[in-house]
């Protein structure tokens, strides 16, 4: 079965999730859809599996155009998707989950379904007890169940969204073996959606790379890891000469910090940040940068190690305590974390302006807001609700809200979703702050941004950290290897 996507486009409000993407998938091969968070790979696969419909463009199966009204419809056409979080019903048994979603009468034929399940599981070497409850299973076993369910529905194209997150190494190799045999022996098409380069190199025959909603390139595997990194992150432009920065005293001292969240553990990070220094955090999404920056902001308590600001121990301090000490944090999701939909610019200012008085001086709030939006070039009025501003203006406004004279400014993807001009403006503002002695720590998925602005780079891979002291002589190959985890191991 040959599947082709032709000129697929999809927008959500102002966000162009997919722009004119055309890809083709042949039987018997394993494909990777690569891309950073927000590159549009999930949207594309949801369109392909009938979960969403495209704004424009067509899906062709063996040359015939098809439209899917629902995922069930797509499965009937032979395309099934395995979601990142298994879509099952935990209070039910394995067998009951297997039956649910299968076509059948009001009274399902339990005995036949049990036979199918057992024989399929045997064929692929999965050990699944039909009578166990699903909430007792591991994520890997739930995946196996879901794969068997899709196979029993005669799916010929299997899409897997980040299937290796949260499963053990043995389960991963078992999964990969099954996927390989499905492609080689049964002629199925396997599509792996991932940003994990190692998985892609291990499993796939070909990779399609998406960036910012567009298709940017195709590689046949094996290929140098640097090529894939370059496609995913963009070319590293030669770094421009910068006036040598002078750094002040150390402001934040991170000593041997270990963190753990439900996704991964970050091991032994030590870093001394000096006043006026810019530190870029690089790495594939979910490698530990977010956890690290949140622990610096007081939102995640380290399991071990200390975080000090000058001589103040902030290891276990609350977010508000850390903020009082002069550390500000600007998260990535502007309207989810940071700004308040439905409130005006002036109300935001009134909310964040320090002051002892229990009342709000609205006159002064209006004046300050008017001044600040002029200084920061925000296109909006003091009484505009924040959600009516464009992304770039929201980000500029978020910067305008930050108190002056910060010791450390922590930023997550400060220019994500912004056009070139807005991004440049944001960095102008940030560099001004740095000139006045504020240390800046930022996460970015754009390697050129990291190389251009950082004085030092911290590369994260699977919770391990490598410090790059001189970004000036950083090249694609080396960074690619660091990000892909060749040296960190």
């Amino acid at each position: 079965m040959h599947v082709e996507l032709r000129n697929i486009s999809k927008t959500f409000g102002r966000v162009r999730a997919n722009e004119d993407i055309s890809l083709s998938f042949s039987a018997g091969r394993i494909y990777a859809i690569l891309g950073e968070n927000g590159a549009g790979k999930s949207t594309l696969m949801k369109i392909m599996s009938g979960y969403q419909s495209p704004d424009s463009g067509t899906i062709l199966i063996d040359g015939q155009p098809v439209t899917f009204k629902s995922p069930t419809d797509a499965i009937a056409h032979g395309i099934g998707m395995l979601y990142q979080d298994p879509l099952d019903f935990p209070p039910f048994t394995v067998l009951e989950n297997f039956i649910a979603g299968r076509p059948g009468g009001f009274f399902p034929d339990t005995a036949a379904a049990r036979q199918t399940l057992i024989s399929l599981a045997e064929r692929f070497g999965f050990h699944l007890d039909p009578d166990r409850y699903v909430d007792m299973l591991t994520i890997g076993e739930r995946q196996q169940l879901e794969i068997l369910r899709l196979l029993s529905l005669n799916v010929r194209v299997l899409i897997l969204d980040e299937p290796t997150t949260g499963i053990s190494a043995e389960q991963k190799s078992a999964l990969f073996n099954v996927l390989k045999s499905l492609a080689r022996d049964e002629g199925m098409t396997i599509i792996l959606v991932s940003h994990k380069l190692e998985d892609v190199l291990e499993l796939c025959d070909e990779a399609y790379v998406l960036r910012r909603g567009r298709y940017v390139g195709h590689k046949t595997i094996p290929c140098p890891i640097g090529d894939l990194v370059e496609l995913m992150f963009g070319k590293i432009v030669a770094r421009q000469e910068r006036p040598p920065a002078t750094f002040g005293e150390p402001v934040m001292i991170i000593d041997d910090v270990c963190l753990s969240s439900h996704r991964l553990s970050v091991h032994n990070v030590s870093l001394t940040i000096r006043a006026g220094e810019v530190i870029g955090l690089a790495g594939l999404d979910g490698s530990g940068q977010a956890e690290f920056i949140r622990s610096c902001a007081g939102l995640l308590t380290p399991e071990r190690g200390t975080i000090r600001l000058n001589h103040l121990d902030l290891t276990r301090a609350s977010y508000h305590r850390v903020a009082e000490a002069g550390v500000a944090f600007l998260p990535a999701g502007r309207l989810e974390e940071g700004l308040i939909r439905g409130m005006t610019l002036m109300e935001h200012f009134a909310l964040t302006q320090p002051g002892k008085a229990p009342w709000v001086n609205w006159m002064r709030a209006w004046q300050t807001t008017a001044e600040r939006i002029q200084t920061f070039n925000v296109k909006g009025r003091p009484n505009s609700p924040i959600q009516t501003l464009s992304g770039g203006n929201q980000q500029r406004f978020a910067l305008a809200l930050l108190p002056e004279n910060l010791k450390v400014l922590l930023l997550e993807h400060p220019t994500r979703g912004l056009d070139v001009e807005s991004a440049l403006y944001i960095w102008e503002q940030l560099l001004q702050r740095r000139a006045s002695g504020t240390a800046i720590v930022f996460i970015s998925a754009e390697l050129d941004e990291i190389v251009a602005y950082s004085d030092r780079i911290l590369v994260f891979f699977g919770g391990h950290v490598t410090l790059v002291d001189d970004p000036a002589d950083m090249n694609t190959t080396r960074l690619g290897e660091l990000i892909g985890g060749k040296l960190a191991r």
Binding site: G13, G217, A323, E336, I340, W359, V360, G380, T388, L401
Partner: protein
């Protein structure tokens, strides 16, 4: 296939929708008209529903309207009664304006009213009835006893609400579930106090209520109106002024509104969200507790005793009031007045039709149908409007300057 874009360039956007530049005032008016009309569509729909029910029962809707008027506004005595009914409803709604703006769905307000009623009764028994060791204390004057009753009522209501808030912030129990559970508990506790030989039921009595409070623990009536007392009016007015100051002037009110719109962002912008949850809930509970004390100490509703149902459901009614007032502090007094009128007039509608010729049996709960119907229909009308005719403020609008630049 497409080539690899090297830079962050986007193709030029399609020409922006041509929107003639209208004056700001005009836009504002255009936005305002549906906002003003929408609630009336909802109210009309609910009234239509009730008229249909009345016609179906063979009752003349105009007569019902007449009874409603007779029972509430026709005479000075009825107006005084209406006032006494309105005050506890209003002060409860004021408290709810605080929590609802902060995104806290304080369903437990009904229980907080009962807690206030129990608190006031307890104070009356402690300081006015003088049994046992309490007889040794110098008898307190009228003012002092009442003050203590109010303090105990506000304290009990506030603590009962604080419990809901602590369950939420410390125990991870949603305030809706915590509130519903605590409502049941306090209702049962109240029943235990006044029924089946409970500790507060007078010996030998079979009525599920306490004995009437002594004179020093009663709100005195005003002028010639047997049922009207001025104290609740003063307290409720003070609560309203406090509410307006909080919501429109204070920094705290701004913080509460921010929390209601986005708790996470408010926290990240420096708002002490947990502390504010506790404080808003407690203040709401205190106001509800005072409402409970108006109900038991006043000469109108229960005639100075704690009964089996001291709140009479005004907590739930206040929830409807605040929803209909769109959580606005300034609209709440009017909406609560309208609802007090409907509730009180409903009794007259029931008795009026009973004695009409021929007698028609209408239950007073018909008014509840109307009240809930109005809220439902108005909320529905706004929902429909936001879905199909979204106001400008609800759209992710394009920057005007960008628009201008492009045209």
């Amino acid at each position: 296939m497409t080539s690899i874009p090297e830079e962050r360039t986007y193709p030029p956007r399609p020409p922006a929708m041509v929107r003639p530049s209208r004056s700001l005032l005009w836009r504002w008016v255009v936005d305002l008209i549906p906002t003003l009309i929408t609630p009336f569509i909802g109210i009309a729909a609910a009234l239509g529903l009730v008229v249909l029910i009345l016609e179906w029962q063979g009752a003349d809707p105009r007569l019902a309207w007449q009874f409603l008027y007779d029972g509430t506004l026709a005479t000075a005595a009825e107006r005084a009664d209406l006032m006494s009914y309105w005050m506890p409803l209003a002060i409860t709604a004021f408290g709810l304006v605080l929590t609802y703006n902060a995104g806290l769905w304080n369903i437990g307000v009904e229980g907080q009213i009962i807690a206030g009623a129990i608190g006031a009764t307890w104070a009356a028994r402690l300081f006015a009835e003088g049994e046992g060791w309490r007889a040794q204390i110098t008898p307190l004057g009228h003012g002092w006893v009442l003050l203590l009753c109010f303090v105990f009522a506000a304290g009990a209501g506030g603590l009962w609400a604080l419990l809901v808030a602590l369950l939420k912030t410390r125990g991870g129990v949603n305030e809706i579930f915590g509130g519903v559970a605590l409502n049941f508990i306090i209702q049962t506790f109240n029943m235990y106090l006044v029924s089946n030989g409970g500790p507060w039921q007078p010996v030998g009595s079979r009525a599920t209520e306490t004995a009437a409070f002594p004179e020093v623990a009663r709100l005195s009536s005003y002028g010639g109106f047997r049922h009207l007392s001025l104290t609740p009016i003063y307290i409720t007015t003070a609560a309203f002024i406090l509410l307006v100051l909080i919501m429109y002037v204070s920094r705290w009110g701004l913080q509460l509104r921010a929390m209601g719109k986005n708790l996470r962002s408010a926290f990240l912008l420096g708002v002490h969200t947990e502390r504010n949850v506790l404080m808003a809930m407690m203040l709401c509970g205190m106001m509800a507790g005072l409402a409970g004390s108006f109900r038991v100490l006043g000469p109108y509703v229960t005639r100075a005793k704690l009964t089996a149902n001291p709140s009479g459901g005004i907590g739930f009614l206040a929830i409807l009031v605040v929803l209909l007032a769109a959580m606005s502090a300034l609209l709440t007094p009017f909406v609560s007045f309208a609802f007090a009128m409907l509730s009180k007039g409903g009794q007259k509608i029931e008795s009026g039709f009973q004695w009409s010729d021929p007698p028609i049996n209408l239950d007073r709960s018909l008014v509840r149908v109307l009240q809930s119907g109005i809220v439902l229909m108005v909320v529905l009308a706004f929902g429909v409007r936001n879905r199909y005719f979204p106001p400008r403020s609800a759209q992710a609008a394009v920057d005007e300057d960008e628009e201008v630049a492009r045209t």
